[in-house]
């Protein structure tokens, strides 16, 4: 029987009431008396030297308050990078300066040159047109391999070249991997592109900076997934404002997908300008601006080799990837192609030797950083494509080849430095074969053929590392932050509970699922629990939401704080019941003396804590509020198996997704409905990457896909009804809830399934020369691949 309350219940999302009735409070809904508006004049060339910026005419335009340029930020810090990678020779990565407004050079289309603050946005835009720019256009560096060739134009004049780092992992394995590949019975090689994407959350980015002269307090309202991180980075590294004089608020946020993790120049600008002007300054990104200023995702060019012995056991994997950093290092950019990618190259398989080489490259393009899955989709895509290609080359069943090489004993230490605690890959594959109806596929293929269509079935497995992360470990790997999470559980006098969490919900439904956990632990109704997040003024220091970490890390902190609450509440109850603390049991919101009918209700205990007339004041303090910080012992390792069925129109190359099934192992599950929704959304994004989304630049660094006219987002009719299942559950062994996280799985697991299905369809139609099609597999690309 499904539960209707607490852990495991598909409780409807309480936050949706306000979202669906238009009473959410998004950052753009924040309007402060006397606020001015800022418009950023952005570069329309990819690379150029700023020779002169003449703002004299524009400054006198109606409504203009002040025009800022890079010169106003001399002596102000630049936008910092939060992760330092050490290259394969032991040297630190090359780390360029990233000024708030361009200084000396512009380095990508969209790079902000000047910021016009005016009484209205239209006046700011009018004045921007009156600014006279003298920019000497320089050759643009766009292609990554050209960027690292000898004599290439440098994106940053003061760096040695355009190579951010050349990373090897595990460097000590390099020669052994080379040898294993040389001696292998079979080697399958694949070159592929993991296409650049634009995250496109429904809500564009917004920043409102405010300054209060009375107490010298700055406040930034911003569309962020992690307000505490923004406060730390912006306060300490950019503007020099101590945390107690800086408040960052991320209210309702309409989708993040990674791109709202990072600290952006616009946030620093609005906070800085508000202090300078002694009035609030607001910026709301247009969709066009978002395309050229939100950090992009993916953009890897990879060659992968898979070595097998004569019995088809995997013996070694070698990959070489060029990873685009764009023009500057966004907050976590260096970590994505390295520690979030290289450590996942074992996948679900017991390959003994793995070597990953990544060259991170600067180009005259928008910075690239984490996007839903962040490194793990790139690892999964190349691995699951090359395994599929190997099965085809060897003439073996792709499921059987995978099963033969599955890791089956846990814990398992991979050759790429992580230890999987639990998993059962055969179980999710079994479940997949059932829900995807593999048995009925041939009949469906014949039916498609009757209609002149080619049908293909693609499968893949995935493993991901979530719940980022043990702070001491990531510190060794170059993170300039800890990655714990925090929660304060405040029990109010009449028994209601306010949980202040360092996690941040921007679509994940924390306001619904987090109370389910507390309610389960205390035996009270979830409606008595309220979640507060997103404001540094009233939540404990936390690291925010990304990397499928909220329930695994933030939820664990909340559990720890609630455990402290229970311990203290039992002490109070034992006093009220005149019984030994060891005999007190908490069940269904009642404290009972074991083996008796003596009990006291939750609300009586909480009232006693705040009205301590009859209270053990000599032993414990009044009040009932506890804080816990939780630092995970390991990553969590969700895994699963996905299947996609496509039809290809052989006359046009158009691919339609007919069926999609996902069998995931997320460990224990708090709210199955929310988990299904997360998988649905992730698959839609994965199908979007596989078939539709293509962020493209021309050779001059002009963004070709700069609007929805050319950048194809998945729409409802691009995806089928999904079969999703998460009944295979191997609980995480090292966090108190046994949870693993589910936010990114869909986006990680689905692109290879789609492309494997397209290749399968083409082979069924006799196009057996087609080994790979780069994403997005648009009609034109599929048709071109079919032509010999």
């Amino acid at each position: 029987m499904p539960k209707d309350t607490g852990i495991g219940a598909s409780t409807k999302r309480r936050e949706d009431v306000r979202f669906l009735t238009g009473v959410g409070n998004y950052t753009d809904d924040v309007n402060i008396y006397g606020q001015a508006y800022v418009h950023f004049l952005r570069s329309d060339v990819a690379h150029g030297r700023i020779k002169n910026i003449d703002t004299s005419a524009a400054s006198g335009m109606p409504g203009v308050v002040r025009i800022f340029t890079g010169a106003d930020f001399e002596g102000v810090g630049g936008i910092p990078c939060g992760w330092q990678i050490t290259d394969r020779h032991g040297n630190p990565m090359q780390e360029p300066a990233h000024p708030v407004l361009a200084q000396g050079k512009v380095r990508h289309v969209g790079d902000p040159i000047a910021a016009i603050v005016a009484e209205t946005l239209e006046e700011a835009r009018d004045a921007a047109e009156a600014i006279e720019l003298d920019i000497e256009e320089l050759p643009a560096v766009v292609d990554m391999k050209a960027a690292v060739a000898d004599g290439a134009t440098k994106v940053h004049d003061d760096l040695e070249n355009n190579l951010c780092y050349d990373w090897g992992f595990v460097e000590e394995n390099r020669e052994a991997v080379d040898k294993a590949i040389k001696e292998a019975a079979h080697v399958t090689t694949l070159e592929l592109v993991n296409n650049r994407l634009v995250a496109n959350p429904m809500e564009p980015r917004v920043a409102v900076g405010d300054y209060n002269r009375a107490d010298d307090m700055s406040t930034l309202y911003t569309t962020s997934q992690n307000p505490h991180v923004i406060r730390l980075l912006m306060g300490a590294f950019v503007l020099g404002i101590p945390e107690h004089k800086l408040r960052v608020v991320a209210p309702d946020v309409g989708g993040g997908f990674g791109t709202k993790i990072f600290h952006y120049a616009e946030e620093a600008f609005c906070t800085f300008a508000a202090r300078q002007l002694k009035r609030a300054v607001k910026w709301t990104s247009s969709r066009s601006e978002a395309f050229m200023s939100d950090a992009h995702g993916r953009d890897h060019v990879t060659k992968i080799e898979l070595a097998l012995d004569k019995d088809n056991n995997f013996t070694a994997i070698r990959t070489e990837t060029y990873a685009n950093m764009g023009a500057y290092l966004s907050t976590f950019a260096p970590s994505v192609p390295t520690w979030l990618h290289g450590t996942l190259m074992a996948g679900n398989y017991k390959t003994p030797l793995i070597y990953v080489n990544v060259k991170a490259v600067f180009t005259n393009t928008v910075p690239v950083d984490a996007y839903r899955g962040a490194g793990r989709p790139e690892a999964t895509f190349q691995l699951e494509r090359v395994v599929d290609k190997a099965a085809r080359e060897l003439g073996v069943d792709p499921v059987a080849l995978r099963r033969q090489n599955f890791i089956t004993e846990f814990p398992y230490s991979t050759p790429v430095a992580v230890e999987y605690d639990t998993g059962d890959y055969d179980a999710t594959m079994d479940k997949l074969q059932e829900i995807a109806d593999f048995a009925g596929f041939e009949a469906r293929r014949k039916e498609s053929e009757k209609r002149g269509k080619l049908r293909g079935l693609g499968i893949n497995c995935y493993i991901e590392a979530c719940g980022i992360a043990p702070s001491n470990l990531v510190g060794q790997l170059g993170a300039r932050a800890g990655l714990y999470e925090s929660a304060t559980v405040r029990v109010n006098a009449t028994g209601g509970i306010t949980v202040m969490t360092g996690s941040h919900s921007h679509g994940q439904g924390h306001e619904t699922s987090f109370p389910q956990v507390v309610a389960e632990m205390l035996g009270i109704d979830a409606s008595m629990v309220e979640i507060v997040h997103g404001d540094t003024a009233n939540t404990p220091m936390g690291m925010g939401t990304y990397g499928s970490r909220s329930i695994a890390v933030g939820g664990s902190a909340m559990v720890r704080a609630t455990e402290k609450i229970i311990n203290k509440a039992k002490k109070i109850a034992s006093h009220l019941l005149e019984a030994s603390e060891a005999d007190i049991e908490l069940k269904d919101g009642q404290f009972t003396v074991a083996g008796t009918d003596k009990s006291v209700a939750w609300g009586d205990v909480t009232l006693a804590a705040y009205v301590p007339h009859n209270y053990p004041l000599e032993d414990i303090e009044p009040g009932l509020e506890e804080t816990a910080f939780y630092d995970p012992a390991n990553f969590t390792y969700p895994s699963g198996a996905y299947a996609c069925e496509v039809e290809v129109d052989p006359e046009t190359g158009k691919v339609t997704v007919e069926r999609f099934a996902a069998a995931d192992d997320f460990g224990n599950i708090i709210n199955p409905m929310i988990v299904s929704g997360q998988v649905h959304g992730g698959i839609a994004q994965g199908v979007g990457q596989a078939l539709l989304e293509n962020c493209a630049y021309d050779e001059n660094g002009q963004l070709l896909s700069a609007s929805y006219m050319d950048y194809a987002m998945p729409r409802a009719d691009d995806v089928p009804f999904y079969q999703v299942d998460h009944s295979c559950q191997t609980p995480c062994t090292h966090n108190p809830l046994g949870v693993k996280g589910c936010g990114e799985a869909g986006a990680i697991g689905s692109p290879p399934a789609v492309i494997n299905a397209v290749i399968d369809a083409l082979h069924s139609g006799g196009h057996t020369h087609v080994e790979h099609i780069n994403m997005p597999a648009t009609p034109a690309r599929v048709w071109a691949a079919m032509q010999k």
């Binding site: 006219m709 050319d710 009609p779």
Partner: protein, 264 residues
Amino acid sequence: MYNFDLVRPTSIDEAVKALGEEDAQPLAGGQTLIPTLKQRLAMPTKLVSLTGIADIKGVCKTDDGQLAIGGGTTHGTVAKEAMADFPGLANLAANVGDPAVRNRGTIGGSLANNDPSACYPAAALGTGATIKTNKREIAADDYFQGMFATALEEAEIITEVRFPIPEKSNYQKFEQQASRFALVGVFVAKYADGVRVAVTGASNEGVFRWSEAESALSSNFSAEAIDSLSAPDGSNMISDLHGSGDYRAHIVKVMTKRAVAAAS
């Protein structure tokens, strides 16, 4: 968006007078012009809305059996009201954009703009329609003059489009995946005296007639008649992120066959 004045006349005469002022521009459904203004890519001093002119709205059959559609008629209205007499046209209108676009956008606005990927130009050219303005009547064959270029003069307003109703017709749109405009759209219309085939979305010259297909289909109105033709020349077709000229040329042939097979 720059500031402008907005007037909403109720007659063609008033509209023409208002358009006589310098930098005045007509505004039909606004599905192209309003986004253009929002991007600050146009700076009219005055917009003359045509939505208040009742005379240029509606669908009716003329005495000589043509379908007459007022220039200010929305795609949504055409989709409903043309269905009985001219399903090929009604289905085209029903698949322009999304419901919001169809409830605002007009046939006159679309033809006056002549976007190279718009659907209506294929229907107008594919039927040999007559474009009626406040000044004159223009045959479709003379009206379309390349991407975004038409025979319209300043202050000339499309008041009506007259479509000869074909025996059979069909429009096949192969959508560009992002915009869902036509990557290639083919309108096929069969008349007693021959077949017309018009192609939108594909050519650098805008909408055009595929004469080889017209000849082949005029003697044998079947999908097989297209099989024996080579695809049209792709060298002057649009080549972009979404497909090469050769791909578009190939799709022209596929869509033509499908339009013939589906014609009713």
